[in-house]
């Protein structure tokens, strides 16, 4: 009935957009925020929702370029000292003014948040001191050179010192030893709109766990009046019901519809937008002396770069992106899609099975060997099908490959326990910077230094490590960009890791809406606009 009468009424009124739509927006999200406390759980699901309510000193635009947020400008005074100029005239939802005290309070609170499943302290741990020169000037001293400080600050939500009961004077000290914090409210308190006070475009109205989160327009928002008076965000975790909710008109926009449903959604008259994401799907190979799951070979063939190259050029990436990903992916030659920071525009490895066989023979495996390929089956878009295709392509050059697919929670535990000689996984660089995949995926595994935490291939290249560390301590952007490109080239020349494709993120919405797709895959209510 709705589907027929709504356009009819619109035609009768002689206007295309119905007034009701212009005021309220309903989003169908694939997962739910675990808390309304923006400093509780560092998880994209929470961040994309809470960014409507809370802001940070910096923001990232749709392509993850760092731009001013609550700080209007910043400069590095020396290798470890930064000065931030804060915006004037910014109001919190409760009417109080935003000052440097709120920033200091917010950073101080991070280590004091209890029971956090994934703490924000990874961003505040390196902050040695903070001083307010005046209400709107702030200096931050870091313990080590950190060129990514403005990027990191995007993740640190600013809460209201007044609403949370801070004293008039808040002084910073590392590791939660600040003074003047008063009684610090914990995460559950943030279900109340009196505590969940931010400076963002929307105010918290009602949060019913499992059901919906409602936010309303903040009229005094410094960045202009938001488009929607009220935004309802509903978690619909299963793909089918989420698509059904859009088709039935229950929600105005959904994130990540399954690729196979996209033609149907378009036929029904909805618009679909997509963008390259910052997530790379890659193959990692265990480069240790004695990995499990390899048969028919002496020692570990994966230690030979010629074997790794053979695997890379045995894969027809175009076929995967076209046939399995339905065009919603792009063949990858790097660990981040160009032109993001630190990319070099490197060519995708060519598909050349003949050359691959030659390489295998040269490396001493003319008859190939057999290997187990690990993959999750519910984490990335069409992950198991992609792994199956890769296995078949590897089999064609003589490497008999069995796919071992398991649910994500199982897969990650097994992968981290080095159970797979070769595995497929994905990496989204939340900082939008090449140092993220390099540091996590291919830097030599070193627990003490915190390097290579997700390097379950145990690839190691000391030369690259040294260059990466140098880049991570270089404030000069141009210089750092060059170093990161060089470090990445070293790894890829060595076939230390094999990029497959960049995922594309898809959103589907009513034709009356428009959305500029984001590289970081976030669905931001404040960026959903009425269509022109």
């Amino acid at each position: 009935m709705n589907r027929l009468t709504a356009p009819l009424i619109a035609v009768l009124l002689g206007s295309a957009a119905t007034p009701a739509l212009a005021q309220e927006l309903t989003l169908g999200l694939k997962s739910e925020a675990t808390s309304m406390d923006p400093q509780f759980h560092q998880l994209s699901t929470n961040i994309q929702v809470l960014k409507n309510i809370f802001e940070a000193l910096t923001t990232q635009d749709a392509v993850q370029k760092v731009t001013p947020g609550l700080a209007e400008s910043w400069e590095a005074l020396d290798d470890t000292t930064w000065r931030f100029k804060l915006k004037q005239g910014v109001k919190f939802h409760n009417g109080s003014d935003f000052t440097a005290r709120d920033v200091i309070y917010s950073f101080c609170r991070v280590p004091l948040v209890e029971n956090s499943p994934s703490a924000y302290t990874i961003f505040t741990g390196g902050i040695a001191d903070m001083q307010a020169e005046d209400d709107h000037t702030l200096t931050i001293t870091t313990t080590a050179t950190n060129p990514l400080l403005p990027t990191d600050l995007w993740s640190l939500a600013i809460v209201s010192a007044d609403a949370l009961g801070a004293e008039d004077e808040v002084t910073y000290a590392p590791e939660g030893n600040c003074e003047g914090m008063g009684e610090v409210p914990q995460a559950p308190a943030f279900n109340s709109p009196d505590i969940a006070v931010g400076t963002g475009p929307y105010k918290l109205d009602n949060y019913t766990r499992g059901s919906e989160l409602v936010v309303t327009r903040f009229e005094d928002y410094w960045g202009g009046t938001p488009d929607w008076e009220r935004v309802v965000m509903r978690p619909i975790t299963s793909d089918g019901p989420r698509v059904a909710a859009l088709l039935a008109g229950d929600v105005d926009m959904i994130e990540s519809p399954p690729i196979q449903d996209i033609p149907r959604i378009e036929e029904a008259g909805f618009s679909v937008v997509d963008a390259l994401s910052n997530r790379i799907i890659y193959l990692h190979m265990q480069q240790t002396d004695d990995p499990p799951g390899i048969e028919g070979a002496d020692g570990n063939p994966l230690l030979d770069p010629r074997v790794r190259e053979a695997i890379s050029i045995s894969i027809n990436r175009e076929a995967i992106t076209e046939r399995i990903m339905g065009g919603y992916a792009q063949a990858a030659g790097e660990l981040l899609p160009p032109p993001m920071f630190g990319t070099s525009g490197r060519e995708v490895d060519p598909y050349d099975p003949e050359r691959a066989k030659e390489l295998l023979a040269e490396a001493g495996y003319p008859d190939g060997f057999s290997i187990t390929l690990g993959t999750p089956n519910d984490r990335y878009i069409n992950d198991e099908q992609v792994a199956q295709a890769v296995a078949q392509m590897m089999a064609q050059i003589g490497i008999q490959t069995n796919v071992d697919a398991s649910t994500a929670s199982q897969f990650f535990s097994r992968r981290n326990a080095l159970e797979f000689p070769i595995y497929m996984a994905g990496w989204g660089a939340s900082s939008g910077d090449m140092s993220s995949p390099l540091k996590s995926l291919v830097a030599t595994y070193d627990e003490a230094a915190g390097m290579g935490p997700t390097n379950a291939g145990r690839y190691s290249n000391p030369e690259m490590d040294a260059l990466l560390l140098e880049a991570m301590a270089t404030i000069d952007d141009a210089e750092r960009d060059r170093m990161l490109q060089e470090a990445e080239t070293m790894v890829l020349d060595d076939f230390g890791i094999i990029p497959l494709h960049y995922e594309q993120t898809v959103w589907a919405m009513k034709p009356e809406l428009s959305y500029e797709p984001r590289v970081d895959q976030y669905t931001m209510a404040s960026e959903v606009k009425p269509a022109e």
Binding site: M1, N2, R3, L4, E32, T34, S35, F40, H41, Q42, L43, E114, N115, S116, P117, S118, A119, T121, I122, Q186, A187, P188, T208, R209, G210, S211, E212, R234, P235, I236, T237, S238, G240, P241, R242, A244, A245, L247, A248, G249, D250, A408, S409, Q410, F412, S413, R414, N416, W427, G428, S430, S431, S436, S440, E447, G450, M451, P453, T454
Partner: protein, 325 residues
């Protein structure tokens, strides 16, 4: 009688403890929660700190010991994901599931009994055969598929009802409920029907079989011979007698309905306990999974216990035979 009660109570307790062991060990082996929870950019030191804080660095028997001693005091652990007591999070979702289960139960009894009696009275009529064929569909089609079909027809194609979610809720006896507003009710219909279909088929078949049996009894023949109207015979004499087994089934099935509305809740994004369980499994939120399963076990064991006690009160032969055995 007291001996029987104590014995029955002891058996229930044993079942609960056995389940606790099984559940805890099972959950222990389904992967490391830290790998799922923590931000991938975290360093090994962050991972170690989180592991230690969640108590996951301890061996299985120690974790189980801590769990047991807390459980005895009514504390089923703190959710890894929400950082709040697991039991609170589950109980928060209980009203939504209870509401769904009760409405589904009403539907399955309210529709199932009359249809079953009808089919039993006229087993060879067209209507009777159609009802029986329909009940086979209710039995054999998978629950999630029925749900998707209901959404496709009534939400997407016809646009009569919403496809999911709970809609507007109002406060009733201190709980948030949907059935008091039109918006809430419209959200409730499809999931309730989905959940009811299987039970409805069960009740139809049960009612039909019993009706056929009872209809042949002498006292029915006598009632008819007395010249009572057909309606009175069915409503008073037949209905009364077939309700005994139906009520038994209702008692048993209510527990399983509350505990296992999982599929329906997932398909309709209904914010009940079942959906919480699925979400918790995906996030490996062990305390919530364990607490949920323990709660389910408690509910079912309690219902069975109460049913057994009532039976033994009604029919002394039951407790006597058990005492001998």
């Amino acid at each position: 009688m007291i001996v029987y009660l104590l014995r029955r109570l002891g058996q229930s307790l044993l079942a609960v403890i056995a389940m606790a062991v099984l559940v805890f060990i099972g959950v222990f082996f389904i992967g490391n929660p830290v790998d799922v929870l923590i931000n991938p950019e975290a360093t090994q030191a962050d991972i170690a700190a989180t592991t230690e804080r969640l108590g996951l660095d301890k061996p299985l028997y120690q974790q189980f010991g801590i769990f047991l001693s807390n459980a005895v005091q009514g504390d089923l652990g703190t959710s890894f994901v929400y950082g709040r007591p697991a039991l609170d999070i589950i109980l928060e979702r209980l009203p939504a599931t209870m509401e769904l289960a009760f409405v589904a139960l009403l539907l399955s009894v309210g529709i199932g009994v009359p249809l079953g009696v009808w089919a039993g009275m006229r087993p060879n009529g067209v209507a009777g055969r159609t009802i029986m064929a329909g009940s086979i569909l209710g039995f054999s089609l998978p629950n999630f598929w029925q749900g998707m079909l209901l959404i496709l027809v009534f939400a997407v194609l016809l646009g009569w009802l919403p496809a999911g979610g709970r809609g507007e809720t109002t406060e009733f006896l201190g709980m948030q409920v949907s059935f008091l507003t039109w918006d809430g009710l419209s959200h409730l219909i499809l999931p309730a029907v989905n959940l009811a279909l299987f039970k409805m088929s069960l009740i139809i078949r049960l009612a039909r079989a019993n009706t056929r049996e009872v209809a042949l009894q002498d006292y029915i023949k006598f009632a008819r011979a007395k010249g009572l109207s057909g309606r009175r015979v069915v409503l008073v004499h037949i209905l009364k007698n077939i309700m005994i087994p139906v009520v038994t089934i209702i008692g048993l099935e209510l527990g399983s309905m509350v505990a296992f509305a999982i599929v329906t809740e997932t398909v309709f994004a209904w914010p009940g306990m079942g959906k919480l369980l699925i979400d918790s499994i995906n996030l490996l939120d062990r305390p919530v999974i364990v607490a949920y399963l323990m709660l389910t076990v408690l509910i079912i064991v309690t219902i069975n216990f109460v049913v057994d006690v009532i039976y033994s009160l009604l029919d002394p032969r039951i407790r006597l035979s058990e005492m001998k055995g």
